[in-house]
């Protein structure tokens, strides 16, 4: 039977997901009264918003936000007052959730910590619906973001050029960053869309509506932090992974998500499509992580870890999508 976004089964599943996320996060159902004029449930952000440093709290918050925006009347108020640290990967994820929503009615307040508020403001996340708390300092770092459905070389170039202008990348880091951005955009185009999730899509057939990728580069203290994400099905639910598992006659639970992700980066999963020449992107990223970008990490289908060491683990909170992140120009942590 043909399924679509408007199918009753899909709507029912979407409503169940939303209720689960709300229960987990104890969304208040009254308006927050922050003066934004947006009534609706309030989602309170945790003190640290960082996809890779605090995945559980950050993903719980982002999932609740995403679930609320996927509803029919997506009104939500984000209470960010307690936030004392927000990393650029979390900023990108929040912006991606907003961009991906069909309709958006979001209110919110700024973090009380002024440098964090300045960073949020600089990201453009709150443009148009929140007042900064008093005079904000200049943001510590500089950022540039981008999103698209196609694989656009000039967009990847602009991100890397920006990083070179505002951080100390060497030429190898710049080249590998460009190549990684291009490969992830391409993987998103091929594998991240919903019809791939349904298992109907041959990987050599163009998706009618490819998933959108979102990328950000944040430069601070000579270091560039790259993040590229999509809100699609994730590597472990992609067509090649499903085909790989079906050949083995085993489910992802029994096989192990960390093991399956390892197989994706070593080339076993990509080659299972039996399409000659395909499946080289992730193995090249593994090689590049070992030689040039050792900080490269991934979060996909609720599994995360450092790519160079293939040390993956499950995170307690579910996540639909894929996020890659790496730094270039040094190994300091983002503020």
């Amino acid at each position: 039977m043909k399924r679509s976004w408007t199918h009753p089964d899909f709507r029912r599943a979407q409503a169940i997901r939303r209720k689960r996320a709300e229960r987990r996060y104890k969304i208040r159902t009254s308006g927050f009264g922050g003066g934004s004029g947006t009534s609706g449930p309030t989602i309170v952000a945790p003190p640290v918003l960082s996809v890779f440093d605090e995945p559980k709290d950050t993903l719980t918050f982002c999932n609740a936000f995403r679930a609320r925006l996927s509803g029919r009347h997506p009104r939500v108020f984000l209470d960010l007052r307690r936030v004392v640290r927000v990393s650029s990967d979390a900023l990108l994820l929040m912006r991606a959730i907003m961009k991906n929503a069909l309709t958006v009615n979001v209110g919110g307040n700024m973090p009380e910590k002024l440098d964090v508020a300045a960073k949020l403001k600089a990201s453009g996340f709150f443009t148009g619906f929140a007042k900064p708390p008093g005079q904000l300092p200049d943001p510590v770092g500089m950022m540039r973001d981008s999103f698209e459905r196609l694989v656009i070389n000039t967009k990847a170039e602009a991100m890397v050029d920006f990083a070179r202008d505002h951080a100390s990348l060497n030429s190898a880091e710049a080249s590998v960053s460009y190549q990684t951005l291009m490969e992830v955009m391409s993987n998103t185009h091929h594998h991240a869309n919903r019809s791939a999730e349904a298992g109907k899509l041959d990987p050599d057939v163009a998706p009618s509506q490819p998933a959108r990728w979102f990328a950000m580069v944040y430069c601070e203290d000579g270091v560039a932090y790259f993040t590229i994400a999509d809100l699609g099905v994730g590597i472990l639910n992609s067509y090649p992974a499903r085909r790989f598992l079906s050949k083995l006659g085993i489910g992802v639970g029994a096989y192990g998500s960390a093991r399956l992700l390892t197989d994706a980066f070593t080339g076993e999963v990509g080659s299972s499509t039996e399409l000659p020449g395909r499946g080289r992107g992730l193995p090249k990223m593994l090689n590049d992580a070992k030689t040039t970008l050792p900080t490269m990490r991934v979060l996909t289908s609720s599994t995360t870890g450092e790519i160079a060491s293939l040390a993956f683990r499950r995170v307690p909170e579910g996540f639909h999508g894929t996020i890659f992140r790496w730094s270039a120009g040094g190994r300091r942590s983002e503020s």
């Binding site: 196609l150 694989v151 890397v160 710049a174 080249s175 076993e268 299972s272 020449g277 080289r280």
Partner: protein
């Protein structure tokens, strides 16, 4: 043997994705518009085709390079498509890859050509 020569930098300095449908300056576009016609012309003239990979701003995404050279090999080793059926070794010997910026690309291109038709039948 005399040599014909083409430069990828005449096509782009920012190589794109694998397929034309994915975005601009793809490997498929480069192969169909530049590499394959030059290869065929060189082959018919009994000459080697030198491909100069230098001059890229940020190097090559793997899928661009594989689709260009692996795709070229798949074309010339396919009995239905090839103007004259060649083996991967013959395709490689017909080419001369120049890459001073990143010498490892010569090995990479050779591997893509040799493995162009490989397909694994099981996951492991």
């Amino acid at each position: 043997m005399t040599v014909q020569s083409i430069r990828v930098s005449d096509f782009t300095r920012l190589p794109g994705p694998r397929y034309i449908r994915e975005g601009p300056f793809s490997g498929e576009q480069y192969r169909t518009q530049r590499l394959a016609p030059a290869f065929e012309a060189a082959f018919r003239a009994g000459q080697t085709l030198e491909v100069d990979l230098d001059g890229m701003k940020y190097g090559y995404p793997a899928s661009f390079l594989e689709e260009s050279f692996g795709g070229l090999c798949r074309l010339w080793t396919d009995p239905k498509e090839a103007p004259k059926l060649l083996t991967p070794d013959q395709v490689w010997n017909q080419l001369s890859i120049k890459s001073n910026d990143d010498p490892t690309l010569v090995t990479t291109v050779n591997r893509y050509i040799q493995e162009a038709n490989e397909r694994k039948t099981t996951g492991r």
